[in-house]
């Protein structure tokens, strides 16, 4: 009798535990946007780049098969001509490879390059939903011959069966699951293979590499600033990026140290941890909230006691700057440069990307009853497409 009860309890408990973990993993899985805040001071060094012409050379038609990020082998008789992109980084890659005229569908988050918006207004491209919320019907109604999704985004993965049932080919690249430049390069290359534009891909990868090397060689080797990344305003939780994320790799490559590197995924930190590591630089994703309010809020949390805040090196990133740092894609070089100038402002000056703000305290003497938060914003730089 007792044994039966014990067994029953164990079974029920195990089931509940399993269910709990299942739900937890699902919720915790998937990527979140990482944000890095960089400060932009007035430009002293102007870095301009021109977009070089991309020549796309199309190979003669032949059947090829390519392995996607899920390990599936997909065959293509000919390069697709009606493509739907499910992620902003995928859209950026396609444009960077000169494949924009093949795109028929993008997400509402696909905001780069600006050409996307023009094509949407013209009607050449249709919005098929959000990045996390793609609409199956809208996709199917476009009659695409290829849908490219991100292997790191569960809603994309969930579309697999439905799309295949509708007879639409779907291909996954690492996209948001990319954790370093090699992942990005392999994504670019595999896309190029599908569209038979391998030469353009190599040129692109090359340019990115050159840009990155240029940055890397100037990074001071003797000092490694400690960096705290917060995925959102501290009011609703101190979420950071673990060591196995793309942003963490970027930080390391840019010569910094991610204080949350010992964790994996998107850990929730507490003030004790942050203050015991005393970061030199804090980067907060503003998520569209008012910067003055956010700054005041940060000043009232224990974050104000970090070295980063006291030396005026708390950065808010938003919108474009946020996107650049969050999307593993063709703007990799720019991301590295931006991050490097946040970490080493004396060496690199400021990147020419707006929507990066620094919180600095006023020049008045600091009293306990609140010090002024002066936001120094970037001057009115014209928005230029910066690619290599």
């Amino acid at each position: 009798m007792v044994a039966r009860n014990v067994a029953l309890t164990l079974v029920v408990a195990l089931m509940m535990l399993a269910a709990g973990f299942g739900v937890g993993t699902y919720l915790a899985g998937g990527t979140a946007t990482t944000a890095i805040i960089t400060e932009i001071k007035t430009t002293t060094v102007v870095f301009t780049e021109r977009i070089t012409e991309l020549t796309t050379v199309v190979m003669p038609e032949a059947r090829i098969s390519v392995v996607d990020a899920l390990g599936r082998e997909i065959t293509f008789d000919k390069p697709p001509t009606r493509v739907v992109s499910l992620a902003p980084s995928i859209t950026e890659m396609l444009f960077a490879l000169g494949l924009q005229d093949r795109i028929v569908g993008v997400t509402s988050h696909c905001n780069y390059p600006p050409e996307v918006q023009q094509l949407v207004s013209k009607g050449d491209i249709t919005i098929i939903g959000g990045f996390w919320t793609p609409d199956l019907e809208k996709i199917v109604s476009l009659r695409p011959d290829l849908v490219i999704g991100s292997a790191g985004t569960p809603p994309h993965l969930r579309l697999k069966e439905s799309l295949e049932q509708a007879g639409i080919k779907v291909f996954y690249i690492k996209a948001t699951a990319a954790i370093n430049k090699y992942d990005v390069y392999s994504d670019i290359r595999v896309l190029a293979k599908i569209f038979r534009v391998e030469i353009a891909a190599e040129e692109l990868v090359n340019r990115i590499e050159v840009d990155m090397e240029f940055v890397e060689k100037s990074i001071p080797k003797d000092v490694k600033p400690k960096v705290l990344v917060l995925l959102g305003p501290p009011a609703w939780g101190l979420y950071s990026a673990g060591g196995n994320t793309f942003i963490s790799w970027l930080i390391t490559t840019a010569g910094g140290v991610n204080i949350a590197a010992k964790f994996t995924g998107w850990p929730m930190l507490d003030y004790e941890f942050i203050l015991s590591h005393d970061p030199d630089v804090i980067i907060v994703s503003a998520m569209g909230s008012n910067y003055t309010i956010l700054s005041k809020e940060i000043a009232e949390t224990p974050l104000a006691q970090t070295k980063a805040f006291k030396t005026g090196r708390v950065y808010l990133v938003d919108q474009e700057a946020n996107d650049i740092l969050v999307r593993p894609g063709p703007r990799l070089g720019l991301a590295l440069r931006m991050l490097a100038s946040i970490l080493f402002p004396d060496t690199f000056g400021e990147p020419k990307v707006p929507t990066v703000y620094r919180i600095s305290e006023g020049t008045d003497s600091i009293t306990s009853a609140g010090s002024t938060i002066r936001l120094s914003t970037v001057g009115t730089t014209t928005h230029e497409v910066v690619t290599i």
């Binding site: 309890t9 915790a28 930190l269 003030y271 015991s276 998520m287 224990p302």
Partner: protein, 344 residues
């Protein structure tokens, strides 16, 4: 004979309270010794006792004190809310969220976020909005409940209806917002003391004190004792049943709403606290069980918070939300309750 029985009961009450207070003190000491900065417990204790205190240790200790106080308060408040809700429904399986207020709090916050994203950046405002949403939920649930008869039963039914409706609303909003706000939402949905600041604590202490005052000025414990034996039994003892249920529901909502607003949704404590106190004391005399539940709830909450921080020290996942830990402990406990209840 009666006198002996009463005296035995009173002694039991006293001893149990003492036991819980000791337990809570010990847990508090452990809680202050453990944290993500991995400062040796010994150092933390020395600082606490004022023996030898370096600035960084004192700083860290400050955070731990805030978290510990938040846990104690939230545990207390949720457990007492649980006793009240179980009292007015006469159902040992009721928990404080049955009144539907957590879903209205969430829905209100979601709508506020849609209107103004900057709320995401403002903790005090978010807390206030969540509290307001909880209050709205209480008004809604009570209005429908009173129209349906005003008994504990009708309150629960209307709470379920309100909960269902607003859960739907907040999930739709979550769906819309989740591209950008997924992580912050998780904090609210699953509860954590890691983001609690010192200046948030009044949002817990003030409702707690107000509730305490209301409970004893309005003599709720005895009213609930009478109501335990039936609506008519209570009425013929001179108690206004509708008033008792509405006021108890209000106090429960205030306590739960404040907890949710500051720490997020933490389940299980509102269910287990009352159950533990009834199991240990033997009966449901609310004069006793309210106090014992509060103590049991605090102990549970501090333990869960300690476990949360231990996970940070020993695993790469980082801190698990408080609500998740209490659920994991809660699963076998609930199974045990179900089996034990079924056998009778």
């Amino acid at each position: 004979m009666a006198y002996e029985v009463i005296r035995t009961n009173r002694t039991r009450f006293f001893l149990l309270s003492l036991m819980f207070l000791t337990l809570i003190s010990l847990l508090a000491i452990v809680s202050l010794s453990i944290g993500s900065s991995a400062i040796p417990p010994f150092k933390a204790l020395k600082c606490l006792l004022g023996v030898e205190c370096y600035e960084p240790v004192r700083l860290v200790l400050g955070f731990r004190i805030t978290r510990t106080i938040a846990s104690i308060l939230v545990g207390c408040m949720l457990a007492v809310a649980g006793v009240l809700v179980q009292g007015i429904t006469r159902n040992p399986l009721a928990d404080p969220f049955i009144l539907g207020i957590s879903s209205t709090a969430l829905a209100t916050l979601s709508i506020a976020l849609l209107i103004d994203v900057s709320i995401l950046a403002q903790r005090q405002l978010s807390i206030a909005i969540a509290l307001g949403g909880a209050f709205l939920g209480y008004i809604l649930t009570t209005s429908i409940g009173v129209l349906a008869g005003g008994t504990g039963f009708s309150l629960v039914l209307s709470g379920i209806a309100v909960s269902a409706l607003f859960s739907g609303v907040s999930h739709v909003l979550l769906y819309i917002l989740q591209d950008r706000f997924r992580h912050p939402y998780i904090n609210l949905l699953m509860g954590s003391t890691s983001g609690v600041l010192e200046r948030d604590i009044p949002y817990l202490t003030v409702p707690a004190l107000l509730s305490l005052l209301a409970l004893y000025l309005l003599r709720i414990p005895k009213a609930l004792n009478a109501y335990l034996f039936g609506e008519h039994h209570a009425s013929q003892l001179g108690y206004r049943v509708k008033l008792t249920t509405i006021t108890s529901a209000f106090i429960a909502s205030l306590l739960t709403g404040a907890s949710v607003a500051v720490v997020g949704i933490v389940g299980f404590i509102g269910l287990a606290g009352p159950h533990i106190s009834r199991m240990l004391y033997g009966t449901s005399d609310h004069r006793v069980t309210i106090v014992l539940s509060a103590l049991a709830g605090s102990a549970l909450a501090i333990s869960a918070d300690i476990v949360a921080r231990l996970i940070t020290l020993f695993s790469t996942r980082g801190e698990l939300p408080l609500g998740v830990i209490t659920s994991i402990i809660g699963a076998p406990f609930l199974a045990y309750l179900v089996i034990k209840g079924g056998r009778r």
